[in-house]
C-alpha cells in the first residue's frame, strides 16, 4: 500500500509557541547555534585576511566598524549569551538535574520536567541576552 510519511520536517520547528516556552527555548537554541556557526565561519574568513598583509587586514577590520557591522556584532553577543546560559540549563537537565522526581501523576497532569525552575532559567537566559545586547549597543554606538 502507498504511504505518505507525513513527517513535519524543518517546518515542525516553526510555530514553537504551540508547545510552550520550552519549545521556544529549543527553537532559539537551534537558531542561535546556527547563527554562531555562521559567525565562526565568517570570523575565520575575516582573521585569515591577515595572511594577505596589513592592508587587507585593515580593510577587513573596517567592515566591522560600520553601522551594519555593529548591529551584527550586537546580535552575535545576544546569540552567544543566550546559547551559553540556556546551554547550561539544558546540560544540567540532560543529566537529570532539576527535572523533578517521578511520582504518581494526578489530573490535570502537569509535567514535572517542565517546571517553573526551567521556565525561570529560560526567561533569565533571554533577559541576560537582552542585557548583553544593550550593553554591546552602548559600547559600540556610544561616543
Amino acid at each position: 500500500m502507498e504511504r505518505q510519511s507525513n513527517r513535519e520536517g524543518i517546518k515542525g520547528w516553526l510555530n514553537p509557541g504551540r508547545y510552550g516556552l520550552e519549545r521556544i527555548a529549543y527553537w532559539l537554541m537551534r537558531l542561535t547555534g546556527l547563527g554562531l556557526l555562521l559567525y565562526f565561519i565568517a570570523h575565520v574568513f575575516e582573521t585569515s585576511s591577515i595572511v594577505n598583509g596589513k592592508e587587507a587586514w585593515q580593510k577587513m577590520l573596517e567592515l566591522t566598524q560600520t553601522t551594519e557591522g555593529h548591529i551584527i556584532l550586537t546580535i552575535v553577543i545576544g546569540m552567544c549569551v543566550f546559547h551559553t546560559a540556556n546551554g547550561i540549563r539544558v546540560m544540567l537537565g540532560h543529566g537529570g538535574v532539576g527535572v523533578g522526581k517521578p511520582g504518581r501523576p494526578d489530573y490535570p497532569y502537569k509535567p514535572a520536567s517542565l517546571n517553573s525552575r526551567h521556565k525561570l532559567c529560560i526567561l533569565a537566559s533571554i533577559g541576560l541576552a537582552a542585557l548583553a545586547m544593550m550593553y554591546g549597543l552602548a559600547v559600540l554606538f556610544g561616543d
Binding site: 505518505q4 513527517r7 508547545y19 520550552e22 519549545r23 517521578p102 502537569k110
Partner: protein
Amino acid sequence: MAAITPKLSDELPSTIVSPTSSVTLRISKFNPKTDSSSSIEEFKVPVQKWTTVLDVILSVKQHLDPSIAVRYSCRQASCGSCGMKINGKPALACYTKISELNSSVITVEPMNNFPILRDLAVDFTQFFSTHKKVRPYIIRDDSEISEETKELLQTPKEVEEYLQFSYCIKCGLCNSACPTMATDSSFIGPQALAQAYRYVADNRDAGKKDRLKIIDDSHGIWRCHFAGSCSQVCPKGVDPAMGIQLLRGYLLGFRK
C-alpha cells in the same frame, strides 16, 4: 410515594438543556490509493458544552460523510486510538472538548511523523517496532512463579520510581509532537525511550545493561534535546521528557 415521583411529562419542561451552538469542522482527507495530496473538507456541526472532538467527527461520519476514516475505541482516553492533530497540536479526540478549544473552527488532521493510512488513521508499525526494541518487559533470570511467595514485593517508594511511566497508553502523541521525530526518521522516539526508563527504574528488572546499550545509539537517546513537547501533549501525565533525562543520567554516570 407515587405522588412525589415526577412523571416524564412533568419532568420535560423543567429539564435543563444546554444551549446548542455550532462549529465548523475541517477534516483532512487523504486516500493514498487515489489522491496525490491531502484536501480539507468542511462541515457545520451543532455542539453542546460536553461535546468532544471525537463526538463531532463521528456525527459527521454518521450523517454527512460516511467515508471518513478515523480510528477510535474506548472514548475515555484509555485505549490511545484516537490521537490526531487538533487545531495544530496532537491530542486525543475523545479527551478534547470543543468548548476548551475556544474556537468556532476545528481543524483535525492525522498525527505528524506517522505514515497516513487514510484520512485521520495513521500507521503505527514503526512506533510499535521501536517500542518492542527497548524490550518493554521485566527481564530477570528467575520467575516469581518459582518463588515460594509467588510475587516480587516492592515498597511504595520503589513503585513510584516507575509508576507514572507505566501509564503510557501508546497513543503516539509524544512522537507526533517531538521536533527530532520531525526530521529524523530513524530516531527511536520519546515513547520508546520513556518505556526504556520505566523498566530500567524498576528494581525487579535486571535488563538495565542491555537496554542502555540499545538506546546508546546515534539515533537513540542522544538525539533528544529536551524540547519537552512530548510531555506537553501526553494525555496521561507520563512525562516522557523527565524519563528520558533520568535515563540519560544513567549513561552519563549521574545515576546508578
